[in-house]
Assembly symmetry: C2
Homo-oligomer: 513 residues x 2
C-alpha cells in the first residue's frame, strides 16, 4: 500500500521520521529488476508461500512450474463448507453438512492489521475483508472450578479487576507508601489517572455505583418512559477474581496479533487462496506427490507420483527450486540436501492443534445471550468458543468454532475419532452454553497432526538460532519458504514474507550469474 503514489511514498517517509509509522518487513509489492534470461524455477507446494513465489517470479520473467499434493491450492489457508469431503490420516472421512454460507476456517482465521503483505495481496486481488470481532465484552471468561462453574461476563471481570487494582494502587500512593517508587509530582497525576482508569470515586474506591455500572453493565438496564431508571450492578470482589483465575485472558485480545482492527475475508479465509490460485492455476500440477528432490550444480529435479492410486513417476527439472513443503513432510521425502540442511529439516517438530466447528439450528448465543461475535475463554480442553463475526441477527443455523486448542490440551482430541471429538466438544461446551445439546445439528473436526499434507499445525523450531540460518541457505539450488521460514510462524504473513524474501535472494543469484 505504501508507495501507491510518489506523493504517498514521500509522505510515508516523512511520517516514519515523525515516529508515526514503523518500518515493516513488507515494503510494498516486490520489485525484481533485471532480466532472469529464461531461468526456470520449480516451486513445491501451492500454499500461500508457493503461490506468492509463482506469481511474482512469473511476473519478473521466470519460467515457473508448481507441484501441489492436493487437488486444490491454498494449503493451510483452508475453509470447509457444506458438501466438502475431508479424509484425515487414518482414513476417517468427514462429509461436511453445514448450511449454505456457513464454514470453518480450519487454518488461519484472522488477519491482523499489521500483516501488511496479506492485506496488500487482498487489496491487489480485490478480496473483500470484514472486521473479525476478537474481543467481545459480553462474551465469557470461564473457569470450571470457580463461581460454581458458571461463566462470567468478560465486561464484569475486566472492569472489576481493573477497578480494584487501581483502587489498591491509588490508595497506596495516597497513603505515601510508594514514595520511593514515584515522585511527588507524578504521584498526584497518577492518582488522578487511576481515578479515571479504574472508575474510582472521590474516596478512591471502586464501588457499586452508576459510574461503575457504565463499564461492567447494569443490574437493570436504563430504559424509556416510566420505571426506566437503571439499577446499578453488584461488583465481584478482587479476591474472587484472583482465586477464580479469571484474569488470565483479560489481555489476550490485546496482543499485536489479536488487537483491533483485525479482519477476516468475507465468505471464508480461502477467498485469499482462491484469489492467488486464480492468478497462477495454469502453473500448477495438482495431485502430485513429490517423492524425491535432487539438486546439483546445474539444476534441480523433483520426482512425483499421483497422490492416489498407481501411476508412473514423473520428473520435472528446473534451474532452481523454491520448496515450501512443510519440514514435517519434507523430512520423509528422499533428497540430497547437505548435512546442515538435513539437520535443520529434522529439527522442526510441528505443533499440535485441533479445531472443531459445530453447527447449531439457531444462533442462540445472539438470541438468548446477546453475544455477537468475539470469543469466550475457558479452562476446559476446548480452550475457547468463538462466535461468528458475520450474518448477525440472522435466522437459521450458525456455526461456532467450538474448540481451538493447541499443545497438551489438543492431544486428547488428536487421539480419538471424529465422532468422539464432537461429543467432547459438546460435553465441555454445554457447561458454558446449556443450549448445546438441544440445538446441535452437525460438526467438523480438524486435528492438524492428522492432516495428511502437513501433519501438524506449524513449525516449532527446537533451536532456531542454530538451525534457521542453516535452512535459509540455498542448498543444491533449492531455497526453503513457508511459515516455518519466518519469525511469524503459523501466520499467512510469515508464509508470504518468507516467499518474497526467498525470491529476492534467488533473483540476486540469478541476475548476478
Amino acid at each position: 500500500m505504501v508507495g501507491a503514489s510518489a506523493g504517498a511514498s514521500a509522505m510515508y517517509a516523512a511520517m516514519t521520521g515523525m515516529g508515526h509509522a514503523r518500518p515493516s518487513n513488507y515494503a510494498g509489492p516486490v520489485k525484481l529488476e533485471g532480466d532472469p534470461k529464461g531461468t526456470s524455477v520449480l516451486i513445491l507446494g501451492a500454499g500461500l508461500a508457493g503461490m506468492t513465489a509463482a506469481l511474482e517470479l512469473r511476473s519478473a520473467g521466470y519460467k515457473v512450474r508448481v507441484l501441489e499434493y492436493r487437488e486444490k491450492a491454498g494449503g493451510r489457508c483452508w475453509t470447509l463448507r457444506g458438501g466438502d469431503v475431508y479424509t484425515e490420516l487414518g482414513g476417517h472421512k468427514q462429509e461436511v453438512k453445514f448450511a449454505e454460507g456457513n464454514y470453518l476456517n480450519a487454518g488461519p482465521w484472522r488477519i491482523p492489521s499489521d500483516h501488511y503483505a496479506v492485506l496488500d495481496y487482498c487489496r491487489r486481488f480485490g478480496v473483500e475483508l470484514e472486521p473479525f470481532i476478537q474481543v467481545n465484552y459480553n462474551a465469557y471468561v470461564h473457569n470450571s472450578e470457580a463461581f460454581g462453574g458458571k461463566p462470567q461476563r468478560f465486561k464484569e471481570i475486566q472492569s472489576d479487576y481493573r477497578g480494584q487494582i487501581s483502587e489498591l494502587l491509588a490508595k497506596a500512593i495516597n497513603q505515601d507508601k510508594l514514595d520511593d517508587l514515584v515522585t511527588d509530582e507524578d504521584a498526584q497525576l497518577l492518582v488522578e489517572s487511576l481515578k479515571r482508569y479504574g472508575v474510582l470515586n472521590d474516596d478512591l474506591e471502586y464501588v457499586k455505583s452508576d459510574a461503575v455500572s457504565l463499564y461492567r453493565g447494569w443490574q437493570t438496564d436504563p430504559g424509556g418512559g416510566e420505571g426506566a431508571e437503571p439499577v446499578a450492578s453488584d461488583i465481584i470482589s478482587l479476591s474472587d477474581i484472583l482465586r477464580g483465575r479469571l484474569w488470565n485472558d483479560l489481555i489476550t485480545g490485546e496482543s499485536i496479533d489479536h488487537q483491533s482492527a483485525i479482519f477476516q475475508p468475507v465468505g471464508g479465509m480461502d477467498m485469499i487462496a482462491k484469489a492467488f490460485e486464480n492468478e497462477v492455476k495454469d502453473l500448477i500440477t495438482y495431485n502430485a506427490k513429490v517423492i524425491r528432490i535432487e539438486g546439483g550444480e546445474t539444476g534441480v529435479s523433483a520426482t512425483f507420483v499421483p497422490r492416489e492410486g498407481d501411476g508412473e513417476e514423473q520428473t520435472v527439472t528446473a534451474d532452481y527450486c523454491i520448496c515450501t513443503i512443510p519440514f514435517s513432510i519434507l523430512s520423509q521425502i528422499e533428497h540430497n540436501f547437505s548435512a546442515d540442511m538435513t539437520e535443520a529439516i529434522e529439527s522442526v517438530p510441528y505443533a499440535s492443534s485441533i479445531k472443531i466447528a459445530l453447527e447449531f439450528k439457531r444462533r442462540f448465543w445472539e438470541q438468548d445471550e446477546h453475544i455477537y461475535g468475539g470469543i469466550t475463554y475457558t479452562d476446559l480442553p476446548i480452550t475457547l468458543i468463538s462466535y461468528p463475526s458475520t450474518k448477525f441477527l440472522s435466522d437459521g443455523p450458525g456455526v461456532l468454532l467450538a474448540t481451538y486448542s493447541w499443545g497438551a490440551a489438543s492431544y486428547q482430541f488428536n487421539a480419538i475419532e471424529h465422532e468422539e471429538r464432537i461429543e467432547l466438544a459438546l460435553k465441555y461446551g454445554e457447561q458454558i452454553h446449556p443450549q448445546y445439546r438441544e440445538e446441535f445439528s452437525s460438526g467438523v473436526s480438524v486435528a492438524w497432526h492428522r492432516v495428511p499434507w502437513v501433519l501438524g499445525c506449524y513449525g516449532e523450531w527446537r533451536d532456531m538460532a542454530t538451525h534457521y540460518p542453516q535452512a535459509l541457505k540455498m542448498d543444491q539450488r533449492v531455497l526453503m519458504a513457508g511459515e516455518h521460514m519466518s519469525y511469524l510462524p503459523a501466520w499467512q504473513e510469515g508464509a508470504i514474507l518468507s516467499a518474497l524474501n526467498a525470491i529476492e535472494r534467488l533473483h540476486k543469484v540469478v541476475t548476478k550469474a
Copy 2:
C-alpha cells in the same frame, strides 16, 4: 429476540436465573392485547419514537396518523450523502458532494449490542448490520501540548500505562507495603495476575523486551526469510504518559455504550429510518409544521401549516396523541398543557454538538498509517477523528468524521459559518494527519443547535427527578415520547423504548375505558 420460540424463552428464563442474562427494559416485541375499539391516535413527529408508536399502534388496531415537519422521516436518525441538500438555521445551504457510497451519519452512528430494541427492529426489518470499529490500537491518542504535539499510537500508551502501573502495584505488594490492604493469599495471586496483566518480567518489571513488544508493537516487525528477526521497541515512561495526560481516553471505548461488539447499519444509519418509514409511510403527512396542540377531556387536536411558503392551517383531531416533538421545539408551540407539563417542557435545554465530515481523495489513514476504522482522540476542539469501518483497502475517496464535539468544545463551531468550520477541522486535523490539506476534497458540517427541526442534539434535564415524572403523565390526552423521555438520552434505543412504554400506558387507559 428473546421469546422467538417457547423453547428459547424457557431457556432464557432459566439462564437469567443462572445469572447469564440480565433483565432488559426491552422484553421482545410489544404485545398490546385487547381491542382498542377504533380509538384514534395522532402522532407528532416521524422520528424513530413516532414511527415505533405508529407501527405498533396500527398493528394493535388503532387508527393512526403522523404529522412530520420534514420532507422525510427519521428525525435525528439522519445520513447525509452526495446530492443531499441541507439548509441550517440562518439559511446557509450545503450541497453534499461526497462520492457514491460515502456518507455522514449526522446523528446516531453506533448501535451498542445491548440496545436490544434497536437490534430487534433491525432483525424484524432485515436491516443489515456490520461491526463498528470503536477501538483501534493503531489509532492515536493526541495531546497538542505533549510529545512535541505528535500523536502517539493507542497501543503504545495503553500497554505502557498498564504495564507500569502493574509494576508499581506488584512491587509494592512484594515489598509488603500493602499488607493492611491485601491478605497474604490474595497478595501472591495478585502479583501473579499483575505479571500477566502488565506483561512484567520475573523481577516484576515492565521493560523493553520481545514480550512487551508483542503488545505495544515492535520497533521492527518480525518478517520472513533472512534478516527477519524482530526488534523490540522502546517504552514510554509512565512519567511522560502522566504529564502528557494520554491516559484520558484509554477506557473510553470500554463503556457499556461503546464496548465491543458494537454495530452500524450497512450503508448508513438511516437504513433504520427508511426501514421504519417503509412500514408506516402511508400514515405520515410530511412538511407539516405543527403550530398548535390542544387537548381536552374528549380528544386532542393539532393544527399545522406547510413547512415552507404560505398555506392554510389544517387541524387534525384524534382521541389521543403521542407527541415526540423535541422539547426545544415544543416549548415554542402554542399548547394548553398543564402548568406541570409546561414547566417540564421548559426545563430541558438541548445539548450542543457538532459533527464535521471531510472527504479525502484517498484513504491515506489506511494507505500511509495502517489505521483501519476506529477513533483517534485529541485535546483539540475537534475532540476525535473517526475512521470508516467499511470499504477497507478500497481505492478512491473516503470520508472521515473529522470533528465530533459537544459542550464547550462545540460552541465555537456553532457560532461560525460552514466554510469556517471546515477550515477549522482541517487546521486542527492536519496536526494529526499532515496529509489533510493535500488530500481534502469536500466537507459537510452539522451543528445541532442550528438544525431547524430540533435545535440541539438531545435533551439534557436540568432537574430530572422533579420534571421527568411531570412530563411522563398523560396531559390533555397527550403522552410524550422520544429520547428525552428516557434514561438513554441521545440514543435511538431511548427513543424506541420511550415510545413502547408510552403506547403500553396509552393502551392500558384505552382498554380500561
